[in-house]
Amino acid sequence: MADAASIAVPRSRLWTLAKKELFSLVVSPISWIILALFYMLRGAETVQLLLNPAVAQNGDVDGFVMGYLIGAFQSTLYMAVLVPPILTMRAFAEEKRTGSLELLMTAPVRDYEVVLGKWLGAWVFYAILWTPTVLILAGLQLWLGLDIAYGQVFTSCLGMMSLGSLLLAAGLFTSSLTDNQLLASLTSILFGLGLIMVPPQLAATAHVDVDSPFYLVLLDQANVARQLQLFFFRGHVDTGHLAFYVSTTVLFLFLTVRVVESRKWR
């Protein structure tokens, strides 16, 4: 029999949990369907850009790169909003429904490790989802000898992953609130759609400055579409925007931890 001295608080299990989450996503059919849809859309966009007269006839290959990155705004932004909720909808809802959350939380793990682990696993999967986008550019550079501004590619990826971090955290949060995956994903999809649609509407109708009411300033700061289109996709990084993504991600992760903990107050 083990004696008292041999029982110790284990090291952080963050990476173990993240790996498990990543693995679950990789073996889930839904992830592969998303992956396929994602690249059908991405592929259609790329082909359309390549057939664009400016590129196809005039050889404006630099215009292609610009279009490829900024053009991502159109349909890909919708994908960027729809995909994270689907990746995270199972995270807690499924575990609650089957009861495996009890088994998970009675292992020697901290609540925040579970939340962070799940988020990290989903984040890595989401990053893998975006990788071929960059590989296409690298391929075109190799075959067509394009001169690609990798700085701009990097900031574009940074922007998409920042938005992804926020939406994955929001998705985890809604998943932790319910044991119904559909409800979890719908709620966070609505949140994401609101995020890309409401602030631009506001920008078109109202002028926001420092004297505006707080909620208007907040909505103005949350104009992720503009942040991506005018800054990240063009190679500009504003630390204010990064701070927005980091703080909102942390906020949602914190809320998720509180929800997971809440079983202890009931």
Binding site: M1, A2, D3, A4, I7, A8, V9, P10, R11, R13, T16, L17, K19, K20, F23, S24, V27, S28, T98, G99, S100, E102, L103, L104, M105, T106, A107, P108, V109, R110, R263, K264, W265, R266
Partner: protein, 347 residues
Amino acid sequence: MWTEQAECPAGHEAWQPAMIEVQQLTKDYGFFRAVDNISFAVQPGEAVGFLGPNGAGKTTTIRVLTGYHPATSGVVRVHGHDVLADSLLVRAALGYLPENVPIYPDLRVEEYLRFRAALKGVPRREIRSRVAETMDLAGVVEVRRKLVGQLSRGYRQRVGLADALISRPPLLVLDEPTSGLDPNQRRRVREFVRDLKGRHTILFSSHILSDVEEICDRIVLIHHGKLRAEGRLEDLARDLGVAELRMRVAVPESDVGELLAGLPILGQPATSVAGANLVQIRCAIAPDDAQNEDDLLGECYRRVRTRGLELRELSLHKPSLEELFWQLTADTERVAESGEGLPGDAA
């Protein structure tokens, strides 16, 4: 504090704190009181049966023990640590098999156990060998490449047990490990758990009484969230009351009184005709007399033989755990109704 507890075995050399110590535990869910002021202790190395009908509060108590839900009031210590203050230490010290064994259906058995081993802090270098060893122990080697979702209930239960054992915790908490299994699966799980006795302290929750009888030395019985009985099985059975002497013998009914004269029987023997010439005799035996089973049965046999009677049955039925369970947990109205007639009161 446990250091002042009366349960401390006097003169015990290397005295250890109780493995589980529950003091005045109460747990409310909203307005519903699931567990009402229960106290019990489990010493290291013991196998204790945690009994009660469905909805008695067993799972709630276990959830408090594992730190999944906090107590409304009371103190719970596992392995000397408070379940709330040192939750991680408590969780590291116990292997838990929840009811219905909720395990990830999309992992293979081996992958699942590796994940759990890593989660429970088995050193990385040892994970491979530990998983192999535990799969062997739990008898799941043949399904190691199967998805957990495709396993039969019996195998799932054993994977759950393997998971509970993977970190070799001093305490195993098993919530209804044999429920929903077919008789063969039940037997395997029961034998497996019985083999773990001695190496681990076991808290075995169940309402399948024969399993508890086979595995556990002691029971804790709760009903409607209240503690109804706690103690060694033999003691409880003895306290429970009278045993029953049964005889089927070819004797005229009028001679039964004479045949049984002088035996330590309580009240009047009940007789009934059980076929040609045969009479079925049942009589109550006081618990203390029932202890000398061999003497009593021997004496009956001698009496039958000296009279040259034909004997078909001679047995002594001691109260079973099932009767104990029934008496302690049957609804209050029933107990009130027949309470005076309870053999327990006569003893």
